[in-house]
Amino acid sequence: MSQLVLDKLKARFGAAILATHSDFGDDTALVEPAQWKAISTFLREDPDLDFDLPVDLCGVDYPSRGAAGRTEVVMHLYSIGKKHRIRLKARVGDEDMDGAELESVTSIWPGMNWLERETWDMSGVRFVGHPDLRRILMYPEFEGHALQKTYPADRIQPLVPYRTEEEAGVPLEKQAPFGPDEGMAFGRTANNISRAEVD
């Protein structure tokens, strides 16, 4: 039904739409990061598309992609009147997340405000033009971006010093047999790389 959305996008933006697919019925467009805001504005304002509900925004990290755009920012939109959805993706940043920037779309959908802050906090993508880009889930002192695959799942950054072992009367370190890979699925290590890759 909503092939319409993708067709319209392609007609309007041509080369800026890098790829499209409709797997599982979810219309998806991979777009040029530079056109992120222009496409968003078009999606919001075109009367046939009318995407008024900002559903979701998140980042997915692919360290192996390297320079080709390490983090994929994924946006989901929905139109209440037209009852169609779209997923918009853009690849940003290189291996060190340099240049991981997108234009903020908060002015189009106020609801994107917190989502962009979250994406910055968790995945480390900066949103240019965001009114107040602070961390949202983690505290300001936190270093790094937790949902990047390179951030070890169990590296803590405590805000208050822990009690010493004598004070606490309990061992504070993990005891054997529990290690960093504890709880991992078979064939995986803590950093979510498969064991085969490590060896």
Binding site: F24, V55, H76, I80, Y139, M184, A185
Partner: protein
């Protein structure tokens, strides 16, 4: 100590001219859930509110990348911990969409019935807690009593009162117990009785109404642009309910209405939730009427569904299959999918990315109340300090879900 009463000449006492800064939370009696609001006050009027969440960030998405697809279920339970069953079903549906499997009819009815029970429990808790925060303790006790009845059924079915972990990819952990239908049939009536009693006490109370009516109103268009869904959006008059707009399971075959409000204020949100409890009751009644008593509960897809225990113990194929599913996890085909259901608070979405292995590459939840809480400041700025309590209560911010 300084003297308590200083004799002042008239006009001598200088009142501060700057706005006062006040910090509410993160551990505040009226903030069930952990949220902190830094307020700038002028007198008792809120000039600016900075809502800060994240005090219950537990790294759900990171944890999901550590286990198998099936090991995510316990984590989703603890997202919206007032209605864990809805999260379970939502996640199961998302993975099933990615695998392309459908569950048997009996399971669909069962999921719906359990989900609606969870929805009742969600709305009861939200309304009860809000009333309690406004000082109406008795209705809270009734609502919790009604909630206990829901939990009794769920415990009988799943074995746990709150965190069921009952969903499975391709089905449910167990078929319904023999008494399920009878229990539901009996309980829903009683629950509604309790709800009516509590409702009478509240809605005939002038003070209660005055504290809710016209407090925190929001227009439909604004709510949509903020990304609101669920009862909070419906209270503004926009009847967006995923169960109706994009029916999943068997929602297109049951008969129910979508209660909507008109003004989008706190009272409307309260009434919407009460209305939905009634609709859930209707759905449950239809579910238990139409759910077949016999038939499989799990899909028979051997890629994801565990073999029966007898097979595991008696056949080598069963043992191997069991081992592989447990140790490596069900292999989910590579791809990405976004699946959405109607959770307790609105559109509960899961965006899954699979790299074809037994471990999720990325599990992203779209928690409905994250964006709802994101709009909180719009509701309270310019209002009185005391209005925060009902406004916040009616948004039903659930820490685990909002903070991931």
């Amino acid at each position: 100590m300084e003297p308590l009463d200083i004799d002042l000449d008239e006009g001598e006492l200088e009142l501060p001219a700057d706005p006062m800064h006040l910090n509410m939370g993160p551990s505040h009696p009226a903030m069930h859930g952990t949220v902190r609001i830094v307020l700038e006050l002028s007198g008792e009027t809120i000039v600016k509110a900075d809502v800060q969440v994240g005090y219950l960030h537990r790294g759900f998405e990171k944890m999901c990348e550590r286990g198998t697809w099936a090991q995510v279920f316990p984590y989703v339970d603890r997202l919206n911990y007032v209605s864990p069953m809805l999260n379970n079903v939502g996640y199961a549906l998302a993975v099933e969409k990615l695998c392309g499997i459908a569950v048997p009819e009996r399971c669909q009815w069962y999921r719906m019935a359990l989900g609606e029970l969870a929805r009742i429990s969600d709305h009861l808790t939200c309304n009860g807690a809000m009333a309690m925060e406004l000082g109406a303790f008795t209705p809270f006790l009734w609502f919790v009593k009604a909630r206990e009845m829901v939990w009794d059924i769920l415990e009988e079915e799943t074995g746990a009162r709150l965190t069921h972990s009952f969903g499975r990819i391709g089905g449910m952990a167990n078929p319904p117990t023999a008494d399920f239908k009878a229990m539901c049939g009996m309980a829903v009536g009683k629950i509604l009785g309790l709800v009516e009693e509590g409702e009478k006490m509240l809605l005939k109370n002038r003070i209660f109404i005055d504290r809710l009516q016209n407090v925190g109103p929001i227009s439909g268009a604004e709510a949509v642009s903020l990304g609101w869904t669920g009862p909070c959006l419906r209270s503004t008059g926009i009847a967006y309910d995923i169960r109706k707009a994009h029916p999943y399971l068997k929602y297109d075959e049951v008969d129910f209405d979508v209660p909507v409000g008109t003004r989008g204020d706190t009272l409307d949100r309260f009434l919407c939730r009460l209305g939905e409890i009634r609709q859930s009751k209707r759905i449950i009644e239809q579910c238990i009427e139409r759910m077949p008593d016999e038939g499989p509960i799990n899909s028979d897809d051997p890629r994801v569904v565990l073999p029966g225990k007898t097979d595991v113990y008696t056949t080598i194929e069963g043992t191997i299959q069991h081992f592989k599913l447990i140790m490596e996890g069900a292999k989910v085909p590579a791809g990405e999918v976004y699946s959405y259901t109607e959770g307790g608070n609105g559109e509960l979405g899961y965006y899954l990315v699979s790299d074809g292995s037994g471990t999720p590459y990325r599990v992203r939840i779209r928690p409905p109340c994250f964006q709802i809480t994101g709009g909180l400041h719009r509701l309270i700025e310019g209002r009185m300090l005391a209005d925060i309590v009902p406004t916040f209560g009616a948004l039903n911010m659930i820490g685990g879900e909002c903070d991931h």
